[in-house]
Symmetry: C2
Subunit: 510 residues, 2 copies
């Protein structure tokens, strides 16, 4: 065995990684044993001899031999250091069974086929889809980053070593208190801090709640069209999904749904339905609470962007409508602050709080104390409320500019929905022959991101075809130009729609 040749070849291949000579020698010998170059039973050179041959210190060789021995690759017997008789080559080379057989689970393969989630909770659009009209992303350049950094730095400087340990599994107490205070005052949520559990965003909240509150095969209702992230979480939790139609008053379950497909969970976005933007009417809220109680179902209220209501003050949350409402309330700071913060929360009914607390002690690892304390202070000091107010004004301006631009350039070809709140609206095609996924692709090819409404279908297709336009990131002064470009790329007004729309216009005038 020419050890120099072996070692130099190996070092030439791996030496640039900055490894020490002893690590290189150990890796070189291990590789030779694995590949059979040094066969089982071979006695390695005595350490002193090998050190001389390679021009290294004897300790270097001793270290490598010791490592090989502790890993079981060599043994010491009367001949010295001998390659162990482990059937390495046969076993390790055999890659006959392809790894794909042991590949992704069916539940996750399903997930891969579905559309990527975009707005409520938090799943990012593909990197290629950053830009104008991506829904669910706030005006990042408007966030008071310097002020936030100061709070973070202060929080980190205040940490004791003990606070580097696992944190409270429910979340840090000051943050839970600050969130409960905020929700009571601003969202009409009836809660105290013991009902608030911190998560790392809505997707985590959904993962947690769907597994904590339903078993394999249980039925969950999801608005159709709806939030793909909820659908993904439902599949991950092995639930049975029933899509429930949405109209202008929000989610609209039929008597048959309650009878034939009784839910254990109902996922809904009452303040600003995602994606259609309808506000769940009071009548429907009361009926839903009532029916959910009778069916022993829990409502999951995802209040993802309700802070931004453009016509009047934000509506109160459904959770606060009745004492002891069967509602789990989800919130996130991804829209009000920024997505990469990764902090969201769940507010559970009083009766479920002890169970949730116990469960999280087992199945979740908490920490990020610095970030949580900084956020508590951001809320407590009023900086959060100030930022939200500023963004509400900004987003209203941007919405107004978008609505105006659409009316100007596309008024005859589309109608608008869901403008009263949030950070997106829906542009519905009047011509039923237009296919939104085709149009969305065409626009993307020209650099305009406008997601197809059909991508939000929860089960089957959608009769309604249109585009979901997020406007929070688009400066008002760019709207007209963007929509003008979009209009030029859309099919022209057909005679049929022209006739309908003229008739509609006459009606409005009359």
């Amino acid at each position: 065995m020419d050890y120099s040749l072996l070692f130099n070849a190996y070092a030439a291949q791996h030496g640039q990684q900055g490894w020490s000579r002893q690590r290189l020698l150990h890796a070189c010998l291990r590789s030779a044993i694995r590949q059979g170059t040094l066969a089982a039973g071979t006695a390695l050179a005595p350490s002193r001899a090998l050190a001389e041959e390679l021009g290294v210190a004897r300790n270097t060789v001793l270290y490598a031999y010791e490592q090989l021995a502790s890993e079981g690759f060599v043994q010491c017997d009367r001949r010295g250091t001998v390659v162990a008789a482990v059937p390495l080559q046969a076993a390790l080379a055999q890659s006959a069974v392809p790894l794909a057989q042991a590949g992704l689970s069916q539940r996750m393969s399903n997930l891969r086929c579905s559309q990527p989630a975009a707005a409520p909770g938090g799943v990012p659009p593909p990197a290629s889809q950053m830009g104008a009209f991506v829904p669910g992303v706030p005006a990042l350049d408007q966030f008071p980053l310097a002020a936030w950094r100061r709070l973070l730095e202060r929080a980190w400087r205040s940490l004791t070593p003990a606070q580097l340990n696992y944190g409270d599994p429910a979340g840090e107490s000051p943050l839970r208190v600050a969130i409960a205070d905020h929700l009571r005052a601003a969202r009409g949520v009836v809660c105290d801090a013991t009902q608030v559990f911190i998560t790392d965003g809505t997707q985590s909240s959904l993962d947690l709640c769907l597994r904590a509150l339903a078993d394999v095969g249980d039925t969950i209702w999801i608005e159709h069209p709806g939030y793909a992230g909820a659908l993904a979480a439902a599949r991950g939790a092995s639930l049975n999904v029933t899509g429930i139609e949405v109209d202008e008053e929000g989610i609209a379950p039929q008597p048959d749904d309650w009878l034939l497909r009784p839910p254990r969970l109902i996922y809904t976005t009452p303040s600003h339905q995602y994606p259609l933007g309808s506000v769940l009417s009071l009548r429907r809220r009361v009926a839903l609470l009532d029916a959910a109680r009778r069916a022993a179902a829990l409502i999951i209220e995802d209040d993802y962007d309700s802070e931004f209501r453009h016509d009047g003050a934000p509506l109160s949350a459904m959770q606060g409508l009745a004492a002891d409402a069967p509602v789990v309330y989800l919130g996130t700071f991804s829209k009000t602050m920024f997505p990469s913060l990764r902090i969201g929360f769940v507010v559970v009914p009083v009766a479920l709080a002890p169970g949730f607390a116990q469960m999280r002690a087992h199945a979740s690892a908490r920490g990020r104390v610095g970030e949580q304390l900084a956020l508590a202070e951001f809320l407590h000091s009023g900086q959060f409320a100030r930022h939200v107010r500023r963004m509400r004004r900004l987003y209203r301006q941007r919405r107004d500019a978008l609505v105006m631009a659409v009316q100007r350039h596309l008024g005859a070809r589309v109608t608008l929905q869901g403008m009263s709140a949030g950070m997106h609206l829906v542009l519905c095609f009047k011509d039923e022959s237009w296919r939104d996924e085709v149009i969305s692709q065409q626009l993307l090819a020209h650099g305009i991101v406008a997601e197809a409404l059909s991508a939000k279908a929860v089960q089957g297709g959608l009769a309604l075809q249109g585009l979901v336009l997020g406007y929070a990131q688009v400066p008002a002064e760019q709207m007209d130009e963007l929509i003008r470009r979009m209009a030029a790329l859309l099919p022209p007004e057909t005679t049929a729609t022209a006739r309908t729309s003229r008739r509609a216009q006459r009606k409005v005038k009359a």
Copy 2:
């Protein structure tokens, strides 16, 4: 209706929350409608009159009325503002069906009954169990917090607004590269950055992998005794758990296990079995890889504390033993840095990397760019390696002190296991009549945290009874006193064990 009385009573109750008068009035009227004080069909006072009566601006009243109208509580008709005819009281008061019926899922209720997880991945011990001998917590007061804070501050100052958006679902690229570099050099893992996926700790890694790689009802093997966090994740993923016995060579599946309970996943801690501390022998590693391939099973290698090997350098990971090994490798920074950091990672086989990337784009929300970039720099700059080396020396001293103290005060009553690596060891009772859970409770009552080995049972009980002692947090100079106190609390040596231990001592001498 005496509005003044109503309003003043409400304000007295809620006014201290700092609400504006218009918010107070709105909440007051809403509450009165909900409670039936203002019944359906009641015409509210005209805004001007009410404003005068309450001594507030007319706009305050108009705002409150408008809010009530937009929420559907009132309507405008020829009589003015009228309470809407929604059957609120009947529906909302009815709390007849108790919420508990719609309570926690069975899978999570199971979880609550099991022991809280403690070491490998990351679930915190209950707050009452911080202190000496808690396993799985590093020496927090030794972490270079100031240096870490500087890296964090620098990373945050470098962020652009675009980096506040959703991050790469796989994790930030510089961190994935730094982790791959570290793993190749220090752990013998064969990987590049595209195989590395960032998570927020081992519990998240397990949640992700178990759902991504197995379907409901599939079998997972978990070492018995083993890590409760893996058990919790398996239950959360609705898998079928088979506990596999562990001996001094590590996990030891029997031929029957492969035949009768073939696994889809095998969870193992080969570098330092949790909790027993055995190192999986090379022979077993090869056999396990080989058998897993034949069975189309995947091995989940949890390498939670392998950086700390006290006798010789750290052993290489199983993942790197064979090209294209059917191994998913899990790592965490909770032990090498600090638990509240909440950053861990998964290294998947090349064949699974594209599937994982796609899946995570759907089902996980990523961000925390500042923290990820700071960690990449901590690794890249060599500060991480320096800290790990320092801790390795420190933990070795602490282990030596613990071993010495145990031999001195408890030598006749216990044997030690799993001392060669990590941050904990196991103290096994010689007297088979001692019950570890009873003793653990007694010690806790005297302020000594020493978890019972039985708490780590995965299925059924354990013949072996003992205590799991984490020593990373305990200064060497305190060991003797702590173990002396512990010895005084343990049952005295029985005649039987005394005889056995004297015989054993004679044997050793011979």
